[in-house]
Symmetry: C2
Subunit: 225 residues, 2 copies
DNA sequence: AATGCCGATCTTGTATGGAAGTGCGCCGGC
DNA sequence: GCCGGCGCACTTCCATACAAGATCGGCATT
């Protein structure tokens, strides 16, 4: 593998290592169950063990690594229970968000959302599922912003990486078409200022993740606990 | 101040430092805005800088410290916005929880809750607000367990420390009597298997925190951003 | 007196060596 | 052949030294 020079330009080496490792983990360059060591990664990036160690600590707190003191450090396997509970948390919050947005609708809210969906269709037609994923995330974050709780979304983000790993495994599988259709239903309910319908649409939208999870577990059993 | 010998017996020194510092911060031994340094704390506990540094990193990720690279490390001031959004998250989740519990009631569920409330009344009568706080937390965690999402509560816990700092400042102020009365309403709704009433009672219960927050901000303005 | 430079002295960041614990495989005894 | 003890190799953990940026005050210059 290339030395991967840590191109990005954060302030400290430790932060760059964090970003590099997190990216490697989410994109399955480092697979769940892989054993890594400080000196291993340090050598790979051409830095000393110290910043690597600090990166390990950060990633362990984010639930991506498991540090077994004096033994080893492994890329954490994905916990189905954890993923479901993360989904529970996300659903709880997003339902509350969509209720608020639909409850006190502003005219331009719907406009912004419609435009986002148009972009998503463009990405979908172009077959760029990576970009679609980004836009999908932006869609949900925008809803949080419209509800006045953008900061809350940031908190979700921390616990969303488990979901992201699953999502990455299903990149080509998931139907962007259907996701877009569901997004449209949500926006429609918002435009009609119908919180109940919005909630229903949102729950249906998020429920699809459960199917993907089960599919992924049987496709990659080694990656799960 | 005493050297505080780090009595507890976690595996590594770094973990002990984390526990000691977190306790100091939540109990306001280290006040928001206080400037600390690695060598300062290291000397205070008689350890080297290294484990202290790692403790700083962990606490910074938990939002209790702010590391300003090459400058200093300060005890983070409490962010009113952050607290409100933490409350929003908690309310979203707890509402979802209480709906589930009230929606699929088991007979012994109410029993367990009633018993917990009895303990709370005992603690309240004894004027032991510290113990009451513990029991209050147990009450909510028990609800999460009954809903089958105990793990989710653990995630809340991480983002609840901001609230805990506020709560500590209001230890003698908050009315345990009223909290108990509200708990009773919640349990009553659960016993009747009335999710809507349970949700209403829960929202009312959590809403009181807003008043406490505002009160605390005017009492200790220096502790907030 | 006001201002800008400059260095002493803080801080955190990084590197490196060794301590302590764990696991695994070899080797000897049975 | 089987089993137990022992030591080597590996890990993370801690201590220490040094590097580099940031801050603040004194001091010279204007």
């Amino acid at each position: 593998m290339a030395p991967a020079a840590l191109e990005n330009t954060k302030e400290t080496i430790a932060m760059r290592v964090v970003d590099a490792l997190r990216d490697d983990i989410i994109t399955m360059g480092l697979k769940p169950g892989d054993v890594i060591s400080e000196s291993d990664i340090a050598g790979r990036y051409g830095v000393s063990r110290q910043p690597v160690r600090e990166a390990f600590i950060r990633l362990a707190q984010q639930g991506l690594l498991l540090i077994r003191p004096k033994r080893a450090t492994v890329v954490k396997k994905i916990s189905p229970v954890g993923v479901r509970q993360s989904r529970f948390i996300r659903e709880s919050i997003e339902v509350e968000i969509i209720r608020r947005v639909a409850g006190q609708p502003s005219d331009d809210a719907a406009d912004v959302l419609v435009k986002l969906i148009a972009d998503q269709e463009a990405a979908s037609d172009a077959g760029d599922s990576r970009r679609f994923h980004t836009l999908d995330e932006l869609f949900h974050r925008t809803l949080a912003r419209l509800a006045g709780v953008e900061y809350a979304w940031q908190l979700i983000d921390d616990h969303k990486m488990q979901l992201d790993r699953v999502r990455y495994l299903t990149l080509g599988v998931s139907s962007t078409q259907r996701a877009i259709a569901e997004h449209k239903q949500i926006v429609e309910a918002v435009a009609k200022a119908d919180p109940t319908a919005a909630e229903t649409a949102m729950r249906a939208h998020l429920a699809r993740a459960e199917l993907l999870l089960n599919q992924t577990i049987s496709d990659f059993p080694d990656y799960f606990e």
